[in-house]
């Protein structure tokens, strides 16, 4: 991805500046390569925020793209000539006057404004200013202005035998299984290319080009790339939104009606709690891996890792390969907080202070079960399997892969994994996972087994375990609720 020829490069406009981008870049990746580190200002205190998740799960990169407010530029694909503008900062992102609000944050607890400005007339006078200061974005002047830029929206109906949501290893192999059963398969993936984490994490257990080649060779698999599946409704109806990616295409709302729905949405990484965990330069490990593996960007020069066990070891070697010096790997229990004003300049531990410009957080992996929750399913902690499993699912809806979260065998095992995170201890031997796949054909057909998440050993148990063991005094929460 990162080795495109120079003549394929293009540029788009970020406020007044031209940003060079390579094919396959997301907007945020191209901007990061051009040296932009601050992407937004926080909602209330206007703290600077940089790239954090790179997967569209956090609010750190909301920008106005071609007149559409609050676009997550970490996942939106860059297009030649597009106009990107920052939001909620004055006079500029790097120097925001409203950041002075931070100095008075002790005066402004949650809801201070409507408890303070109670006199008649005062509220009407200050409300517009508060709204302006604490807003996210200005709405577009009229909806017609957007319609001018995007003259066509399409509503498409797709009927499928099997709809597979998620183009990762689990989704790909399930789609192949279903196609081998002569079902007409629609594979919905929100990434520009199939493969899920295999695209940026090397794996010995699966051969991605071979897998993708087999998918493409199947006539009865239709792939919807860059398509966000936002809803799973009764009657196996999937709502899919496909944004406009090239000048020739239109924004599409796709209704996929399937006889059978297979949810293979995998996991996402959740942040860890420590002081100043929102500074620019604190990133999730998956974000760092994406920047390195997909875009060929080294996100820092000297990194400190928070976490332990095999994840951290693997990540450290990955960082070194990318030319980043790994200053230290610190278990979460040792972390006091990140230091720096605006961006990270070090990591304070209980013993010492580590100078670094990048803090990589190996966060908890949480099943991405939003679609399953929409069907009314609840994730339940399965004591025997030591994992979160989706409860009752409607007929013809199945969950496969990491979204099912079957990993450690027992609670003790799980506890061991959590201790890894906090103490940096060794990871217990890997546990084979039982296959609850609806298709048992996989092994006979010589397909790769669903990739075991060897390296991602941290599993989140009941949440309070984490918070009880967590470092005290982590006051700065990542999401300001106000």
């Amino acid at each position: 991805m990162g080795t495109a020829k120079a003549d394929e490069n293009f540029s788009f406009i970020f406020n007044t500046r031209a940003i060079r981008a390579r094919p396959g870049d997301t907007i945020a990746a191209a901007m990061f390569r051009s040296g932009i580190r601050i992407f937004t200002r926080s909602f209330k205190n206007h703290r600077p925020r940089g790239l954090f998740c790179m997967t569209g799960k956090c609010p750190n990169c909301l920008m106005n793209v071609d007149g559409v407010p609050n676009v997550r530029v970490c996942t939106a694909q860059a297009r030649p000539g597009m106009e990107v503008k920052y939001q909620n900062a004055f006079p500029s992102l790097d120097f925001d006057l409203l950041a002075a609000v931070q100095k008075f944050s002790w005066l402004m607890p949650v809801g201070w404004y409507y408890k303070t400005f109670t006199r008649r007339g005062v509220w009407t006078a200050v409300e517009p200013w508060i709204r302006k200061a604490a807003g996210l974005a200005e709405p577009p002047p009229t909806i017609d202005r957007i319609a001018d830029r995007f003259p066509h929206y399409e509503h498409v109906n797709v009927h499928a035998g099997v709809a597979v949501v998620g183009g990762g290893p689990a989704g790909l192999s399930t789609a192949l299984d279903a196609a081998a059963d002569n079902a007409s398969v629609t594979l919905i993936d929100n990434q520009p290319a199939l493969g899920g984490r295999l695209r940026y994490t090397p794996s010995e257990e699966a051969n991605l080009p071979e897998l993708v080649g087999r998918i493409q060779a199947q006539d009865n698999i239709e792939v919807l790339s860059l398509s966000n599946c936002f809803g799973l409704y009764e009657g196996n109806l999937l709502g899919v939104f496909r944004p406009r990616t090239t000048p020739d295409t239109t924004e599409q709302l796709i209704h996929v009606r399937a006889k059978r729905v297979i949810v293979a949405t995998g996991v996402y990484e959740a942040p860890l709690l420590f002081e100043n965990n929102d500074l620019v330069g604190v990133m999730l490990s998956s974000a760092v891996e994406r920047l390195i593996g997909l875009h060929g960007i080294a996100p820092g020069r000297r990194a400190a890792l928070i976490g332990g066990g095999a994840t951290a070891e693997r990540l450290a070697s990955r960082l070194r390969e990318a030319g980043i010096e790994v200053a230290a790997t610190v278990p979460l229990g040792q972390v006091v907080g990140a230091t720096g004003s605006g961006s990270v300049n070090g990591l304070q531990t209980k013993d010492s202070r580590i100078a670094c410009d990048l803090i990589v957080v190996c966060g908890h992996l949480v099943p991405d079960a939003g679609l399953l929750h929409q069907t009314g399913a609840k994730l339940k902690w399965d004591e025997a399997k030591g994992a979160f499993l989706a409860g009752e699912l409607p007929a013809n809806v199945t969950a496969v892969g990491d979204v099912e979260q079957r990993q450690p065998k027992s609670r003790q095992h799980h506890g061991q994994r959590l201790r890894d995170l906090y103490s940096g201890g060794c990871r217990p031997a890997g546990v084979s996972r039982e296959s609850r796949s609806p298709h048992s054909r996989r092994r006979e057909s010589g397909l790769p087994r669903r990739t075991r998440r060897e390296s991602r050993q941290v599993r989140l148990g009941p949440q309070d375990d984490v918070f009880r063991n967590g470092p005290g005094g982590a006051r700065q929460n990542r999401l300001e609720r106000d």
């Binding site: 009764e234 009657g235 009606r257």
Partner: protein
């Protein structure tokens, strides 16, 4: 509300093509007591489970049909034209288990 109804005339269609016509109730005989007519007109069983319902395929064949629908899951067991099935009509409340 995104389930499908298999219209006997048109096949599997989205529920948005149909108009709901209420529970299927047995009409009292002419001259039946006022009580029966009152129940037929105003009292509903509001079944939790499978019940027979009237549906009008307004954006299709424009015929009235009956469907057996599970009100808990919106699963439509079967749809048929009235009289073409051995399915019994719901007893008005007060006559059956009510």
């Amino acid at each position: 509300m995104s389930f499908l109804i298999t219209c006997p005339e048109c096949g599997e269609r989205s529920v948005y093509e149909f108009r709901f016509g209420g529970e299927v109730l047995r009409r009292p005989q002419p001259g039946a007591p006022t009580e029966d007519w009152f129940r037929y007109s105003y009292v509903r069983r509001n079944e939790m489970g499978v019940q027979a319902e009237w549906w009008y395929h307004r954006l299709g064949c424009r015929r009235w049909l009956q469907a057996l629908r599970d009100t808990k899951t919106n699963h439509v067991v079967r749809a048929y034209f009235p009289g073409e099935s051995e399915e019994k009509e719901n007893e008005p409340l007060g006559h059956g288990k009510g």
